[in-house]
Point group: C2
Chain length 443, copies 2
Amino acid sequence: MNRRGFNRAVLGSLSAAMVPAPLLHAARAPEHAADPQINGPRLMEQLLQRMAGFGKNPEGGVSRVAYSDADLKGREYVSGLMREAQLEISVDAAGNIMGRRAGSDPGLPALAFGSHIDSVPKGGNYDGPVGSLGAIEVARTLAERRIVTRHPLLVTIFANEEGGLFGSRAITTGLPPDELDHPSSSGKTIREGIRFIGGDPDRLDAARLRKGSVAAYVELHIEQGGTLEREKLDIGVVEGIVGIKQWEVVFEGFANHAGTTPMDRRQDALMSAAKYVQMVNRVVRAEPGRQVGTVGKIQAFPGAPNVIPGQVEATLELRDLDDRKVDRLAEAVMAEARKIADADGTKVTFRPLHANIAAPTDARVRAPITEAARALNFSTKVMPSGAGHDAQAMAQIAPVGMIFIPSVGGISHSPKEFSRPEDILNGANVLLGTILRLDRAMA
Amino acid sequence: MNRRGFNRAVLGSLSAAMVPAPLLHAARAPEHAADPQINGPRLMEQLLQRMAGFGKNPEGGVSRVAYSDADLKGREYVSGLMREAQLEISVDAAGNIMGRRAGSDPGLPALAFGSHIDSVPKGGNYDGPVGSLGAIEVARTLAERRIVTRHPLLVTIFANEEGGLFGSRAITTGLPPDELDHPSSSGKTIREGIRFIGGDPDRLDAARLRKGSVAAYVELHIEQGGTLEREKLDIGVVEGIVGIKQWEVVFEGFANHAGTTPMDRRQDALMSAAKYVQMVNRVVRAEPGRQVGTVGKIQAFPGAPNVIPGQVEATLELRDLDDRKVDRLAEAVMAEARKIADADGTKVTFRPLHANIAAPTDARVRAPITEAARALNFSTKVMPSGAGHDAQAMAQIAPVGMIFIPSVGGISHSPKEFSRPEDILNGANVLLGTILRLDRAMA
């Protein structure tokens, strides 16, 4: 059934904007009532004419890395948009831009939604800004329609997502103090960067959100994979954000003269590493599921055409919604790698680099996302997020959900990243419908 | 039969030094006569106390790269030794140090022997100096014993061997003019380097040796492989110097997000490269022979743990005594690599980097080497040289031969490079015996 068409026919010209806000609120819109709609052209103009200009690269896309001048300009721009959306703005100690709007019930915790505007170096125009500008437009649409929600609303533009969820982790799990001294892509340390965008790295604890202070967090984001586009689906309802573990992997053999060392007398670290690369692929694919395993980095040393590699540095990355599966696969890969090294007379070591635990989304947030999408007659798919997101940190203090829209070709972290305007608008409208439904459903 | 023991018994105290040189020469020493002997302690003192000091590294070995200050000091030192050996010294346009000694027959071409004293960065004390100082000691021993050969003698200390046989190629095949502008390990261009050591890069043609101007060239060198030591043999009689071909190999796939791109939707350039590394090993070992194939260099791009490699740069190097085998193996490797890329949806390209044609040694030089070794009761093995040597260039204008001595553990181009003093002395004595036998045998 084309529910959107039905609603339009029944409600005709009854627009939410024409009804005084308190009345709309008091009446509790029935399930079949049409949600207000996002201003699509305005959202696209903000995204592609304005936001894309901050850190624009000659070859397309942007380099708007966190704590850079381009980041600062982008933040000023979204702050202006948030003011137009009648949000009360503050920058917390971690540099997150927070936009608040009061609800009608002062006892309720806030409904939070947002994303980030920083990019990877040579990134695209969609990863982050779609969810950030979409969230601001949701607030602006509600303000324009004078719809007052029961819950306070909190639009969150998180700082330095791409560097490792720094803004969202700072206010949820907290940051280990040593991370403040790590370098960021801007060249500044995290500490210097936080100060640069108006935060206070010495008072991060003051910005922590306690459990229960947020009723729910919803994030709109591009899929960054090709599933929705390939299956011709409109909306992804994220069932969880994968856990990620990374290791540095070093194979050691013996560097020697490539001309004078017979083939059967070599301890070639690259021979072991080559078998390892294929083994990782085989082990990860051996069981059903959507887990992924990647060797993204490899380099042989000393690295001359005429020297047998004595050392090879590589990596291992494993991702799955189930942390136990990640650990099980890691054990299998390490055991197989040791077998390869033993057989070759080489040595292998694994050094942990980075770990993110998996974050399931909450059924209480997934349900209104699905309902909002169906109310607009969109096809949906429940799917994992293979990438990390601020929602992962927010899951530590609140029920979370994520709305995905298609990425053409699944390309991301690239100037070629692209989502169609109609999909962006669809996503923003689903976010709007989700917030209204959460406002009705959540305590 | 212990021929050395026999000679000693028969000849007793009859030392060559006690016989006037012209008499020795005129008498033509019979086959069983003892050759004069090299002064072992003096040779070792020159090699390890003096030569090893020029470019000495704190961690052992030397960095005496061609055209460096350390190279210059080493050249001054060997020039002094050559003068003590009563050689008439000149530096040719390519910077080679040439030490001449007149023979008794003015119509005969020179017997040439020598090596080089430059090293690779962080090299050892034996690759080059053993043959260079050994050759000078041969000349000095003959001078001390007042033995005058029929042929003129030419001791050759070739310039910049490690950079690519620059000195020896300049006076044989000639250098392509563009190579003069290439950088050398010293930081200087080849042109600047030649000038730095007293050559004249504008007059290289004047230094060319024509075919027939050299009766034979003999080079003493460490094996740089582990065969002689492993098989407990004294002397290697080199049957030829391998041909070498190198390529840069690039695999292209598609870089994408490692979290959001399912395993069956990847164009992972590293998966293809890993199969390639193993395939090279398999193809090269599939047929009998002493050919070697090496992938010494590999690097994935962009090279982050969380990005599927879009490009992998690697190399291919093939070596064999038979250039046709090198070409046949190259064709097989390229065909297999294309099959791998086709199956994986990636692309592979091969770009030639460097080629050295194989240089067989001459039976007329191998025979006296073998005889000289057997006269000293040394075990011998006919073997290829897997490494390149100045003899390779000299083979273009004269019959050549090479004498190998054992390298402990086969380690070379490393501070750990080591040959035992007794093996070094053995090699120098075989060189001396070879020159005397060539002098009798060659026209």
